[in-house]
């Protein structure tokens, strides 16, 4: 028993290496926020491309659906390796893209961001789509009848309602995204998992990883509770009788 505690929950070890682990976790947070925001935006763009009306937009719709299907089906780790391992070697790309160093972050940070955004954008596009499709058809008809074009109707009427409905599932995806940022440790980015693993191999002790896991929980647990609250509120709205259809 004591062995188990020493191996995983060595408080002294955690205290000694707290700063290193926290630094790794801070990196994780930055990665999560940048990739999370970009995924949210990219997902919304994809969802709207997928819903474009008209025959002229058919190729774009088709390409978007193909994109979403493909990148939802490819493991994030493979995406990370594909990007970080080869983009720097693509000579036809400008250097600022081949070896991005924006905002003082190393290129591997940005490769991680790209890979996560490409993958999670596809996931989030599907979440947005479910939200868009849950807005009653009559909303689009009303907006179009008032003279709005498709773009205006989406922007002012459909998307604001859709986003409200899918806020909770989007937040869920964000929690998953945050946890998946640990996969960028594969490209030697010193985020929390890699820091923990280095400590593990150096001292043959997993308490550093446990400390990292605890830091995750400190952030993800409140987010998960928030998701529950939002879902409850959304359902509350519904049962309060949002659609007042007297005679039906």
């Amino acid at each position: 028993m004591q062995e188990l505690i020493n191996q995983y929950f060595d408080v002294g070890f955690m205290a000694d290496h707290f700063d290193e682990v926290l630094e790794g976790f801070w990196f994780t947070i930055q990665l999560s926020i940048v990739a999370g925001v970009l995924s949210l935006v990219w997902g919304l763009v994809l969802a709207q491309l997928r819903q474009l009306p008209g025959r002229g937009a058919a190729p774009l719709r088709f390409a978007t659906i193909a994109y979403i299907d493909v990148f939802r089906g490819i493991p994030l780790l493979i995406m990370i390796l594909l990007i970080s391992g080869s983009v720097p070697l693509l000579d036809f790309l400008p250097e600022w893209l081949r070896i991005p160093q924006w905002f003082g972050k190393p290129d591997n940070f940005w490769f991680g961001v790209f890979a996560i955004t490409i993958t999670y954008g596809a996931y989030m596009a599907e979440v947005y789509r479910s939200g868009i499709e849950s807005v009653p058809q009559g909303q689009m008809e009303a907006a179009r009848s008032l003279g709005m074009n498709h773009r205006q109707a989406m922007r002012y009427v459909i998307v604001p309602q859709a986003v409200r409905k899918v806020f909770a599932p989007l937040l869920n995806d964000f929690i998953a995204l945050m946890k998946d940022t640990t996969l960028v440790s594969a490209i030697a980015l010193s985020e929390v998992a890699l820091v923990g693993r280095d400590l593990q191999s150096q001292f043959l002790n997993s308490s550093g990883l446990i400390l990292g896991a605890i830091m995750f929980l400190v952030v993800t647990l409140p987010l998960a509770r928030l998701v529950d609250k939002l879902i409850a509120r959304e359902q509350g709205r519904f049962t309060r009788g949002a659609p007042r259809m007297e005679a039906l």
């Binding site: 009848s145 008032l146 409200r164 007042r244």
Partner: protein
């Protein structure tokens, strides 16, 4: 263009309008003219095509065959229209024709006033102050001057429907379409909506009203149309169609409705 341009007295003209949903023929050749300032009530059993006819006029359901004219201009591109793409016809129609729906279709994330101002600003390019002034006036006119900042879920069905009417009127339409606007309302809320429509008719608005309210049709309509099976079975002044219908089908329908 032909005969429709004459003096501008014909507001809406339909000729041989056909509409199918898959194999179902909903409209089978409808001819109809509505003059400026005229109030036309369309009656008929469910599935007779009356709502589809109304929705054809503002191209929510573009017809497959036939022609629709609005203020002298053809608004049908013929087969293949209605793919959702923007066109001058669509802009032309939507700027002149307002519609009110059975289910209100208010924007639930906007207050009553915002419902009325949104399209004014985004489509007509009015300033926020201008749109607000017009919106407040219209809501006042439909008796909701004290509900400007309420959200739809806090309004009764009758109030919501009156907001919807104000929202359509805010775009200064030349024609108003009403698609069974009282069918989803509790009986005691029907009157407040019909009163607004009656006033609108008295002010000379050109109106096409799909309804089951025989009393409203008798009182307000200049002309009543009875539809069944995708065609116009009978039309004429309300007194004639409602009191002494010629067609057997009309008699039967009115008998059933008035029995209620």
């Amino acid at each position: 263009m032909e005969s429709y341009g004459n003096g501008g007295s014909v507001m809406v003209g339909l000729r041989g309008v056909c509409k199918r949903f898959g194999k179902l023929e909903v409209l089978r050749g409808v001819d109809l003219e509505i003059k400026k300032g005229e109030v036309v009530c369309v009656l008929g059993p469910s599935g007779s095509g009356k709502s589809t006819l109304l929705r054809c006029v503002n191209l929510l359901e573009p017809p497959e065959e036939g022609d629709i004219h609005l203020e002298g201009r053809s608004i049908c591109k013929g087969p293949g229209s209605g793919t959702g793409e923007q066109s001058w016809e669509l802009d032309f129609v939507r700027q002149r024709v307002g519609i009110v729906f059975q289910q209100f279709n208010l924007f639930p994330h906007k207050s009553a006033l915002e419902n009325v101002t949104l399209a004014q600003e985004k489509v007509l390019g009015r300033s926020a102050a201008e749109a607000r002034k017009k919106g407040a006036e219209l809501l006042e006119r439909v008796g909701l001057g004290d509900k400007l900042d309420e959200y739809p879920e806090r309004l009764s069905g009758g109030q919501q429907q009156r907001v919807a009417i104000a929202r359509a009127l805010a775009m200064d339409p030349h024609v108003m379409l009403f698609d069974e606007v009282t069918s989803a309302l509790d009986p005691e809320l029907v009157k407040e909506v019909l009163d607004v429509m009656r006033e609108l008719a008295e002010e000379g608005m050109t109106m096409m009203v799909v309804t089951h309210e025989i009393g409203f049709a008798r009182e307000v309509a200049d002309r009543v149309i009875f539809m069944d099976g995708g065609v116009i079975v009978e039309e004429g002044p309300p007194a004639q169609v409602l009191e002494s219908p010629r067609e057997e089908r009309t008699k039967q329908f009115l008998g059933l409705v008035l029995e209620r």
